[in-house]
């Protein structure tokens, strides 16, 4: 290998190493801070690594707030909203691509209009609407408004437009109903699209903060992110407990991310660049 190539690769590794460190440092800082004593955490001269790691901090943080309930709320919201988005998107995408019915184009534009209205612009009327429906501080208030997925409908439509017509025709000639054609011929084909979208949508829902913030204002119905922010406001200066609480919320997501990294990368790229 020529020396210039070795030198160039050394630079590549060095720069990437620095970048990985920039990404990882805050998370490592969280981990060591979570294990420090109350005295160490506010001592500017304390060593980076705690003398006696305080694993008990995690239990202390867990005992201070209803994390179990917040986990449950987040899981209910994350699973239900994701399942709803995938199902509604799959059905609508299929209908818009394959089924012929009057008004299809107009209804497709209505479905896409969801992309034009960012949720952040309508938080105030959304809260009023959900208040009028009596849905504040409820699971349906968290879940139902998030089910329609313009992006999902669009991506599934694109996918089904690319599937061969002959598959369905053969089944129809055998006397299969339209519903049967969808369920047994086309829906199974979409499995890779579902896989790529599922993890990314789930993580988005799991981490959603602004939406729960305007729908929920009780401790009992809070999701994990909200709970964590309340926890912080109660223990403002106990950074070790706050970091332990952050650790409790980050680690499960981190494990999912490591296990599903390929699907996540797939999901980020999917539909974004076509």
């Amino acid at each position: 290998m020529p020396a210039s190539l070795i030198a160039r690769r050394a630079v590549v590794y060095l720069l990437l190493g620095v970048a990985v460190l920039v990404v990882a440092f805050p998370l490592l800082w969280m981990a060591v801070s979570a294990l420090k004593t109350d005295a160490e955490i506010i001592n500017p001269a304390a060593p980076l690594w705690p003398a006696h790691p305080q694993w008990g901090n995690i239990g202390r943080a867990l005992g201070q707030a209803p994390f179990g309930r917040w986990y449950l709320n987040t899981a209910v919201f994350g699973v239900a909203a994701t399942a709803g988005q995938l199902t509604s998107g799959l059905l609508a995408g299929y209908a818009f691509a394959v089924l012929d019915f009057p008004g299809r184009r107009v209804l497709f534009l209505v479905a896409l209009s969801g992309l034009m209205v960012p949720f952040s612009a309508i938080i105030v009327p959304m809260a009023q609407l959900l208040g009028d429906l009596g849905w504040l501080n409820t699971y349906q208030g968290l879940i139902v408004p998030n089910i329609a997925s313009a992006l999902g409908a669009f991506l599934f439509r694109q996918f089904f437009l690319g599937t061969p017509r002959e598959l369905g025709e053969a089944a129809r000639l055998d006397g299969a109903s339209e519903l049967r054609v969808f369920l047994s011929v086309y829906a199974p084909l979409a499995r890779p699209v579902v896989a790529a979208l599922a993890i990314i949508l789930f993580l988005q829902n799991w981490n959603n903060f602004l939406f729960p913030l305007i729908v929920v204002n009780t401790t009992e119905m809070s999701v994990l992110s909200q709970g964590l922010s309340v926890f912080q406001s109660q223990f403002t200066t106990q950074y070790n407990l706050i970091m332990a609480a952050s650790l409790i919320t980050i680690v499960p997501v981190l494990l999912v991310a490591v296990a599903a990294q390929r699907h996540i990368i797939e999901g980020i790229t999917f539909g974004a660049l076509d």
């Binding site: 012929d100 009327p125 690319g162």
Partner: protein, 328 residues
Amino acid sequence: MRQAARAGRAGTRAASRRAADPAAPGPRAGRAGLVAGPRDRRRTWALGYAFVAPTVLLTVLFSLVPLAMLLWRSLYGGGVFDLAPRFVGLDNYTGMLAEGGARALGVTGVYTAGFVVLTMGAGLALALLLNSRAPGVARLRAPFIIPLVVPVVATALIWANMFAPRFGPIDRLLAALGLPPADLPASPGTALLAVLTFGAWQFFGQNVILYVAALKSVPRDVLDAASVDGAGAWRRFAHVQWPMMRRQTLLIWVVTTLTGLQTFTQIYVLTQGGPDGATQTALYYVYNEGFVQFDTGRANAMGVLLFLISLLVTVAQIWLLGRVDRAR
């Protein structure tokens, strides 16, 4: 599974080409007419309406209705406690702009511009490094997705700790260098920079992943041909890769801009829009007026502007995409 996903994507691409041609016949046109009787057609209609109903109805109820409420109520006076709102014309808009709204729009512009430059610059630079043929480099893509997938509230608390005066790592570093401590999020001059650093850290991984994919789409033989012609790394980038990624760069810009415009959690946890409005963006203004000050008139007026700005970005995307595609 991965293979299948890739096949799925190839299918999607073929489909988008077909979708781009408005003259292409509808999916079942022709043959279906011969095979299906009127009754079958009715059944197909019913199934079609049933399938699109959840998406269409929920979009109307939870996007279009709130949008209509937003536009309408931005013209009506008062806060949530007004029992008989009265028409006030554009008063909410002028009041909003005079009372911190104009400043919030400026902060949003600065933040979003910085966010785009930082995350797209870092994304492209790291993607170029990850595109190197050095062994093992391709695996290093994975760490960059981590900040993207962990809860923002948790990372915001970490960054608050990192910025903490005296015992936070940033002040420790400054002290080690003999510099005075700096409480970055609490000082008006540096608060936005602190939020921006954190916001960019959280998001730039997405642009790394997208630029890696974009670079992969540049055919290797075109690059090799450029090398044979004596082009070095810089000229290959400037004359081959960059022009061939114009379309992807545009799409990445749109997603990044919309994400920057909608930054909320970072500000909510780190600075609450302070100190003295230094980090109050348009969205944070909407939240603060709507849910803290309870002046929903002003909140809605700013919401309308936020909607229009996002719409402008989307329209710009469609227009620019058309230009890029025609230039090909």
